[in-house]
């Protein structure tokens, strides 16, 4: 394990990339222009007018307070999970299990509400959010225990537990948490008293606001506390961290639990704020969007806020474009992916 100093190349960082920070505004501008151009060509090829399509997209994202609210609701889970991942990646711990952690957060929130003994009100909401954070954190904890205890690479441990989580949700929805006779795998509707409050006029639930606040707190932890310093050192050089007397397992546990709890909260707020019930597959694909958000935010927890907003608004606009112009839905996915690829290509650098 410990090579002597002079045996050639050593791994400097556990992450194989860095971010280019020079002229970043121009880079992103250029990337956006290129993705618009590619999208225009694809839309032309599918026989639609790109200008009309783009207009529909803009209107879909920003056209009315309601549309903005829709986009902000989409942003919420991505921001929760993405800000947590940014911290994880900073420590050089690659958590690919947000999908499962979000799903488990949903389970926690749903179970807390269904089994809440008292009146469905603010207290129940808070308990449900706490349960969501705990379940998400526990799920990340299972992965961490496997990773550290059995030396399984964290990517494998977290990734594979996603499938277990999804099946667990199905199992619970066909049993203890399910709504009998619904025909779908879903829980009963939650009482109104536990729904997250919504912001009037725009009509989005307060999840995105909580997420932004937590992202700011995580950023503070990263830059202003000894723990954050330890995380930054560990992410840059595990050897320097060991030399500095910082415990690598301790750091891994902390960032995994924090990012798991954040993902769990993302799932919980999605249930309490948007669906008002647990639905099978409600979080499908969220985890990977969260990875993109963490990268768009250059692993800077506070910068994941604009990153998540970008993804949220892009998705809301693309969906509107699909509805109004009739662009095929697969093409919408392609355009979303191309845009993210261009932006990442403009900012991420191999080390």
């Amino acid at each position: 394990m410990n090579k002597p100093a002079n045996t050639g190349a050593v791994q400097l960082s556990r992450l194989p990339f860095t971010f280019a920070r020079d002229h970043v505004i121009w880079r992103i501008g250029f990337a956006l222009a290129m993705s618009l151009l590619s999208a225009a060509i694809l839309i032309l090829l599918s026989g639609k007018n790109p200008l009309e399509a783009f207009w529909a997209m803009l209107a879909g994202a920003f056209g009315s307070p309601h549309q903005i609210g829709v986009a902000l609701n989409r942003t919420s889970p991505y921001l929760f999970a993405g800000a947590g991942l940014a911290l994880c990646f900073r420590a050089g711990v690659i958590n690919m299990g947000s999908d499962g952690q979000i799903a488990m957060g949903g389970v926690g929130a749903c179970a807390a509400v269904l089994f809440w003994p008292g009146e469905a009100g603010l207290l129940a909401s808070i308990a449900a959010l706490l349960a969501a954070a705990i379940c998400g954190g526990l799920w990340a904890g299972v992965a961490t225990a496997i990773h550290l205890g059995r030396r399984v690479h964290e990517v494998l441990a977290t990734l594979l537990l996603n499938f277990v989580a999804l099946l667990l949700v199905q199992l619970l929805l066909s049993g203890a948490l399910g709504q009998p006779g619904a025909g779908f795998l879903q829980s009963p509707l939650m009482p109104r008293g536990v729904w997250l409050p919504r912001v009037p006029q725009f009509d989005f639930h307060i999840g995105v606001l909580i997420a932004a606040g937590l992202a700011a707190i995580i950023s503070f932890v990263l830059w202003r506390t000894p723990l954050g310093f330890a995380i930054r050192v560990a992410g840059k050089s595990r050897r320097a961290a060991a030399y500095a007397g910082l415990s690598a397992p301790g750091i891994t546990w902390r960032v995994m639990l924090i990012s798991g709890a954040m993902a769990g909260l993302g799932g919980g707020t999605e249930i309490l704020g948007l669906h008002h019930r647990l639905i099978e597959g409600f979080s499908s694909g969220f985890g990977f969007k969260a990875v993109t958000v963490a990268l768009l935010g250059a692993l800077e927890p506070a910068v994941t806020i604009p990153g998540a907003l970008f993804v949220g608004f892009l998705e809301a606009g693309a969906q509107a474009m699909q509805r109004q112009i009739g662009v095929p839905s697969s093409l919408v996915t392609v355009i979303e992916a191309i845009t993210m690829l261009f932006i990442l290509a403009a900012t991420v650098r191999r080390t």
Binding site: A5, G8, A9, L12, R224, F229, A242, Y243
Partner: protein
């Protein structure tokens, strides 16, 4: 005879810094020119100008009778100039043959694998490189890898080879072999520029020496008649080879007690250090030096035995607890262990103490106090950098090591373990490190000074131990040093 390479009046300024200030350099075919200079004296800038990696403000380059100007690195290489870097540009998973073919355009077009393999064998035989074309680079020791780079240059008919610090990663026997290879290249009519700050090698192999200081040629000398002291004085502008003043101190109480210590590839060994003494540990690299240093620092598990520091047992204590107990450690691996190069000087100074005063207060990092502390440490330990926010990786090796010294010594440790603390440093910085070790000793601490540079160990050690095969082969006080016995101990292997 016209020179192979003529560089005339090279000037390059970066802002207010005159990195090259009218430098001349001639290299003839069939000679080895030593290019000496401290870090920051302008050696790298001169080579960048030669390769066209940056534009000169003034001056001209003539190579093989042709003017080279406004050129790019590719063109310099095509003209027949090859640079062999300190860090090799090799693909470890590929064979020697594949690495040599990599990026060699003619090889792909005109030659077959078999032909190239034959040429490799032929050249390897001729120059004594001992390289098999079909061996994977990953399976070769560092010295052998370097020869692949030399072979690349030879097969591509380079006329001028520039070697940047070629011996800094090599074991003593490998250094000798490299010097022999260079002599053979010289006899084949190649021009060689040997960049280094190791004096003995220069004297052994070079025909002429050019010394740079502060961007100017401080001196040129034929090797006949040059000696270490005069070359070093030319480099630094002052005499740094004068003997260090190491009046033995009356040793104090026992500060570090190592009993029957055993770990993987180490021991069992016993050592006892008193306050006010430096124990120099000599030995050929790879004989347990890293194991001893890391075991003492708490980075490797102890199998049996006991370590006691100032009366407190720390045999199985964590690295953090040892730091608390008063143990400081300067690892040999400066770039990924002792420092985080992509962090600032201030962050590196707080690396091992981030949760303590003055770096933290009330559980939060105290940025203002950290900055103040960093500036004061930079002042006290003469760390030269634009500001405390400068990235550690952008500093010279000497200044990087000063960060480590500042951090470890600021804690006023009971015991310091220093492993190869002068590795890769120029004479000025080496002197600084040695003087700090002695000052620490004089203040009553105990120092374990581990180095494969025997001369340094003898210069600072109050007692000298020799590590061979992970065990102490012998231990003497400085007054009783007998070079033959030390040589014998060094060649001893654990049975």
């Amino acid at each position: 005879m016209a020179a192979l390479l003529e560089m005339r009046g090279m000037v390059k300024t970066y802002g207010s810094l005159r990195a090259n200030d009218g430098v001349d350099l001639d290299v003839f075919a069939g000679e080895i020119v030593g290019l000496l200079g401290e870090n920051g004296s302008g050696k790298s800038t001169l080579m960048k100008l030669l390769f066209g990696m940056t534009e000169p403000d003034a001056g001209g380059i003539v190579f093989k009778g042709r003017e080279l100007s406004g050129h790019r690195p590719r063109e310099a290489m095509a003209a027949g100039i090859v640079m062999i870097h300190q860090h090799f540009m090799l693909v470890e998973a590929m064979t020697v043959l594949e690495n040599i073919m990599l990026g060699w355009e003619e090889a792909g077009k005109l030659l077959r694998r078999g032909t190239i393999a034959d040429r490799i064998r032929e050249a390897s035989e001729r120059l004594g490189l001992d390289l098999d074309p079909d061996v994977r680079v990953a399976d070769l020791p560092l010295g052998r890898r370097q020869r692949i780079e030399i072979l690349k240059a030879v097969l591509r008919d380079a006329d001028l080879l520039i070697l940047d610090e070629p011996t800094s990663n090599l074991a003593p026997s490998e250094i000798n072999e490299l010097l022999n290879i260079l002599r053979r290249l010289r006899s084949e009519g190649k021009g060689i520029v040997f960049i280094t700050h190791k004096m003995p090698e220069v004297i052994e192999v070079c025909d002429r020496v050019v010394v740079l200081r502060a961007g100017k040629v401080a001196g040129k000398a034929g090797i006949a008649g040059a000696d270490k002291a005069s070359l070093a004085a030319m480099m630094v502008g002052r005499d740094v080879t004068a003997p260090l003043s190491v009046e033995p101190k009356a040793a104090g109480a026992v500060r570090l007690d190592i009993r029957a210590l055993k770990a993987q590839d180490l021991g069992p060994l016993d050592l006892r250090l008193r306050g006010g003494e430096i124990l120099g540990i000599a030995g050929v690299d790879g004989n347990g030096q890293l194991e001893l240093a890391e075991t003492l620092a708490g980075l490797r598990p102890v199998e049996s035995g006991a370590i006691t520091l100032d009366g407190a047992e720390i045999t199985h204590a964590t690295a953090a607890r040892r730091t608390e107990a008063g143990l400081a450690y300067m690892p040999a691996d400066r770039s990924t262990t002792a420092l985080v190069k992509s962090m600032t000087i201030a962050e590196n100074l707080m690396l091992r103490d981030s949760h303590r005063q003055p770096f933290s207060k009330g559980g939060l990092l105290d940025r203002e106090a950290t900055r103040k502390e960093a500036r004061s440490l930079m002042e006290r330990f003469d760390i030269r950098a634009p500001s405390e926010q400068t990235l550690a990786g952008s500093l010279s090796g000497g200044n990087q090591q000063k960060i480590v010294i500042a951090r470890e010594l600021a804690r006023q440790p009971a015991v310091l373990v220093a492993h190869q603390p002068t590795w890769g440093l120029d004479p000025g910085a080496t002197r600084f490190v040695l003087e700090r070790m002695i000052a620490l000793r004089d203040a009553g601490s105990a120092v374990i000074y581990i180095s494969s540079e025997l001369e340094e160990v003898l210069a600072v050690g109050d007692r000298i131990a020799v590590l061979a095969g992970g065990r102490i082969a012998g231990l003497v006080s400085r007054a009783e040093v007998d070079m033959t016995r030390i040589g014998l101990w060094m060649s001893e292997r654990a049975a």
